[in-house]
């Protein structure tokens, strides 16, 4: 499980995906504003990280529905729980590492246990705040949140999917952990996007193997799939935007219809997407080879977001290179 040397892609490069013209956290904040226009029960709370979470437009549009609780994440989760008991839909916004670890017990006991209608808006997922270092990385949050009964976990792959996720999260009755990023990300979807909690999106057809990503790594999987065509490999790509409840059927189909399943996540490989997929495959008795790509039981170190994705083997070229290694 320990970190091995990540192989590099030796073939030709491919055209990168177009990048969104807006930072993902800003896009998320604007999506929340749109939801709040038609739903007067939506409230936003922050532990003083208004700019960082992209909620300035919300605070300006709805000052009477916005609350800064101060630098106090634990209390914020309890306050959100109390508001939810009064019929509000509180959206508690902070960095992913704080939402999942500083306020871990409050999320479990105050929100998940009583099944209260609180949305946790967790930004800077994975190594999105790469240069902030390990204190500011959120590489454990999915594993932690996945163990809480009643919790739903959603992670959008791009701006259009963020709109869908925000609408679905608000419409869902019960706690939701929304895993968001920081800067601009690649554009995956255009035009119409059918979205349903718990139903993975097939973003590329393929017959040889399946790449499963979530959030930022969906774009990286698409890049890897494009690179793999140079070697005559047809890779299916799934966007596992719902990490809980996970789409067992899409995983089973991938394991039955293709010869290998590879997960790629900006998260520790323990307990996140890869762990969830492994659990499903093992319990269904599907012996298709599985490889989990992600941060391999180490702290990610400091660096730019893209540099860290490459370093940990979850950028497109590194995913493709590792797939070739697995196939040898």
């Amino acid at each position: 499980m320990k970190s091995a040397k990540i192989p590099q892609w030796t073939g030709d490069p491919v055209q990168p995906l177009p990048m969104a013209d807006v930072a993902s956290r800003v896009a998320a904040g604007l999506c929340l504003v749109e939801e709040a226009r038609s739903n007067p029960d939506i409230w936003a709370l922050t532990s003083d990280v208004l700019n960082s979470t992209g909620l300035v437009p919300f605070a300006k549009a709805f000052p009477e529905r916005f609350l800064n609780v101060g630098i106090a994440e634990q209390s914020m989760m309890g306050i959100a729980a109390g508001l939810a008991t009064c019929g509000k839909i509180p959206v508690a916004a902070t960095f992913g590492f704080l939402a999942s670890m500083r306020a871990c017990e409050q999320v479990r006991s105050d929100i998940a246990y009583p099944n209260l209608n609180v949305k946790i808006y967790a930004t800077h997922a994975g190594v999105a705040l790469g240069k902030g270092g390990t204190t500011h990385h959120a590489l454990e949050d999915v594993a932690i949140m996945r163990t809480f009964a009643n919790m739903t976990i959603l992670e959008p792959a791009d701006v259009l999917e963020t709109q869908k996720v925000m609408a679905a999260a608000v419409a869902h009755q019960g706690p939701v952990y929304i895993r968001l990023r920081r800067g601009p990300g690649p554009v995956i979807y255009q035009g119409e996007l059918a979205y349903q909690i718990g139903k993975a999106n097939l973003v590329r057809e393929g017959n040889d193997l399946t790449l499963i990503g979530c959030g930022r790594t969906v774009g990286e999987c698409l890049l890897a799939a494009a690179l793999l065509t140079q070697r005559g490999i047809s890779a299916r790509v799934l966007d596992m935007h719902t990490l809980k409840p996970i789409d067992d059927e899409a995983i089973a189909a991938a394991a039955r219809e293709t010869r290998m399943v590879i997960t790629a996540e900006d998260h520790t490989i323990i307990g996140g997407l890869g762990g969830a997929v492994a659990e499903v495959m093992a319990e269904l008795g599907l012996a298709t080879p599985l490889r989990r790509l992600g941060v391999r039981d180490i702290y990610a170190g400091i660096g730019g977001e893209d540099e860290l994705l490459a370093k940990h083997g979850i950028a497109g070229p590194q995913i493709a290179a590792q797939v070739m290694q697995f196939l040898e």
Binding site: G70, G78, G82
Partner: protein, 283 residues
């Protein structure tokens, strides 16, 4: 909100009934807390039978006053009071701590209608109280949110996160009650005796911008008056610091921290119940 002598006698009688339930239930369950519930009993009776604007037949009524027992381990006292108030049959108390009981060792709002918050992890109850007080203000609801804290749990940092922001948002509709029984499970033994969990709670809460009053938590009349005063100020949260005795009402339990969570033997139970009977016939 004053209390006439007849009413006071009824409430004191109810407090004795509740103490009996606490002792017999914990004895029957073979587990549970005793000292903390007994220190909170008189205040819980005053709240549920005289102060809270509630309707046990409609526990989800939107305008009801809210009550959070942040010191959730004392829930057997709350369950006994709720049963006597009509939220569920008194006969259900015997299920306390049993498998699938609605009366869990720490309160579960998803199971038991009438509980306004699930609690049990110390230091967490005041934050949801802040959320409820904000919810009331935002919806123009007239209700008051009450949160009972233990003095020991004020050693948790989250209490002060909530205390800070409650004052900052001028939550005059939030009232905390500090059950100051001056004992925690272990504490600090010093040459002069046991050091209490908090050295100077009045100064601490005043420093956080709260309106503070201090009463005897076993004197129902004073307690009711203090709560009435606490609600009058509209732009500051209030705390009623209630001096109490852990194990109150049973001579051999009073002030003895070993009764924090000890199950009485058959003989101890009989002695304790006899003491409660004896007090009932005193003038």
């Amino acid at each position: 909100m004053t209390i006439n002598p007849t009413r006071l006698h009824e409430l004191e009688d109810m407090a004795r009934r509740v103490r009996r339930h606490i002792l017999t239930t914990v004895h029957a369950a073979g587990g549970g807390h005793v000292g903390g519930p007994l220190s909170a009993t008189d205040m819980l009776v005053a709240l549920y039978f005289h102060i809270l604007n509630i309707d046990p037949t409609n526990p989800q009524w939107e305008d009801r006053d809210r009550f959070i027992l942040s010191k959730g381990h004392s829930c057997i006292a709350l369950y006994a009071v709720m049963a006597e108030r009509g939220y569920f049959p008194v006969s259900e108390l015997i299920t306390f701590d049993g498998i699938d009981s609605r009366l869990q060792g720490h309160p579960d709002m998803a199971r038991l209608p009438g509980l306004d918050m699930s609690t049990g992890s110390l230091g967490q109850g005041l934050s949801p109280g802040v959320g409820m007080a904000l919810g009331a203000r935002l919806r123009n609801k007239p209700f008051t949110t009450y949160v009972m804290l233990g003095d020991g749990e004020c050693q948790e940092g989250q209490v002060w996160e909530a205390a800070f922001v409650a004052a900052r948002y001028r939550l005059g509709n939030l009232v905390a009650i500090l059950d100051l029984n001056r004992l925690q499970q272990y504490g600090w033994q010093e040459p002069g005796g046991m050091r209490p969990p908090l050295d100077d709670p009045r100064r601490q809460w005043e420093a956080f911008g709260w309106q503070v009053s201090v009463v005897d938590g076993h004197d129902i009349t004073s307690f009711v008056e203090a709560l009435s005063t606490a609600r009058q100020e509209s732009d500051r949260p209030a705390i009623v610091i209630a001096h109490t005795v852990k194990g109150k009402g049973i001579s051999f339990m009073e002030g003895d921290y070993s009764w924090h969570a000890r199950v009485p033997t058959d003989v101890e139970l009989a002695r304790a119940l006899a003491e409660l009977e004896l007090r009932e016939v005193q003038p």
